[in-house]
Symmetry: D3
Subunit: 129 residues, 6 copies
């Protein structure tokens, strides 16, 4: 089993509603250092999981609508609490939809370091196309 991981980041504002979240109920913000990991059983005909340039471009495009945004007013998080885990899931689902035909991948992982001591992550299984 093979993996390719690429990195990017976004800087967003948000607040987390509900007593559960303590001081994070305030409008504050985060730099989310994002890693996207693409997993494939075997390598493709070029000897890679996926072209690094394509993977980097794909992640960048998915992150584009989030850059410099206030997620409290962002349509994609209208009915949601924008926790790190929920943001990871959103990015992973967007990445999955954006994969090219015949990608051959079997799983995707998206992780977000929200500060130097905490990181959220999601893994989703794919039906190899």
């Amino acid at each position: 089993m093979f993996r390719l991981r690429v990195d990017d980041h976004v800087m967003i504002a948000h607040s987390l509603a509900g007593e559960f979240f303590g001081p994070a109920q305030n409008l504050h913000g985060a730099t989310l250092a994002i890693t996207a990991t693409f997993e494939r059983q075997g390598l493709d005909e070029h000897g890679v999981v996926m072209d690094i340039g394509v993977a980097t471009q794909l992640l960048s495009e998915v992150l584009e609508p989030l850059r410099y945004q206030n997620l409290d007013e962002h349509p994609d998080f209208a009915e949601k609490i924008s926790t790190t885990e929920v943001i990871c899931q959103h990015i992973a689902l967007q990445l999955a939809s954006a994969l090219p035909e015949g990608h051959g991948l079997q799983a995707l992982e998206v992780a977000a370091e929200e500060h130097p001591r905490a990181r959220g992550m999601v893994r989703i299984e794919l039906s190899p196309a």
Copy 2:
């Protein structure tokens, strides 16, 4: 599947008995940079694996009895060799016991970087409570 990872560290002295361990038979020490990873199939009603503050607090409490200790004289390692792997297992079991009722987690991972070029890790499966 979702994960949350939080970080902390402890500074301990110990020696590893047995020729197998070469110079580490001497009384020496280590900073163990610890990461605890909590894993859950789906997110809870707050859209998280676990509250980051709770996870950080839990890890800190479990590490408390080890901080600034000589493990050669520590009761929890009385009959054990305190290798990095054994320390990870000890921390993971302590974390598992300290989890709140109804945590919904399915696995725990504890890793310890003992120096910039070596890291041990343990994973334990949990019966979701």
Copy 3:
């Protein structure tokens, strides 16, 4: 010459007014990974630049009023643009004021990594007290 460096972080929202700042004019946010460096010509009677616990506590107290805040509405940034450099300067001046009598330090540096590829820093000289 000796230095001691300790780390902490804050998560803030803000916007940067003026065309100069492009998309950062939007309300967004940042995790600022902060390092404070204390500099001393020689060591004190305990063989240190400063007690690490004291340094860590001092930095934490200075950061406290910024944690989970929207700097656009924060009194300390009322007449200022809260760029990374300006935030560093604010923290450094607060740290300098909070130093204990007879600290013996000759300089302070505060750096903030605002995302994995950019970091601001300020250095201020102190009159050793």
Copy 4:
């Protein structure tokens, strides 16, 4: 389940033939920061996955023939495209062959960070010897 991870690196030149690889078709090079992860169901009689010194030595020996080489002219990559993933697989297979009798391991992972924003990885299952 337990893991031990050790690190090393190699500095190689290579080119990647085929339009697919864009500018990487040029003869260029890379520092590959390598991590090898050894996995074992339980710990051995010394309370470890594997001796750290042995693991580090094993990885170093496997990397030796690649250090300061041009992979375009290296016999081990004669019929292959030396992508990061293919190099990881090569190292993992070499490590697997070099494992001592009775190692008790169940899997090996080799990862290579080729630049600060991209990393390849392979995992191979082992028949515990």
Copy 5:
């Protein structure tokens, strides 16, 4: 005194002629993780050392002619040994020439991590324009 640091990287092949360089006489390669640090006595009218976007763009443009190149055949290193220090100096001088009029900077630093355990650096003083 204020600083701004931005990061990028290049992947190059080269060889270092002369017995002094031992195995690095072979044609091999490196990923050079580059940081450029811009230094200014006070902040400009926008409260920054320099716009981060401009700094990042400037560094990227200076690195462009080096990306995926074999420095043994690169005109800029025709009469030179392309050691890490020499490459840093080359990048710093190129950056200095590319600075906009009225930059107000007093120094530039360029560092290159050539592998996880070694880094070269150059500092050049500027005549504030």
Copy 6:
């Protein structure tokens, strides 16, 4: 001005006598991740500050007598408190003595990260030999 930085680490036990040090009065330990930085006005005839291999070897030799030691019983720290700053100074002075004739260096810096959130450092000026 040019710099070269190389890295290594040591794992030691020690205790810090005196109420000032709080819980660090206990016998405990630390992994000290060490960086040694060599500074030179201009480059030498090979276009380097110093050969990386020589610098790495020099640092390793200076650290050798400290590896896996209890500094409370180490002759080099007999009359001293082995704080991070004092250990840095010890290593820097040993490095300075071990420099080859005609090294041309003007300063040395030794830093030690004692845990992920604290680092000590010393800088000593050299009389270029």
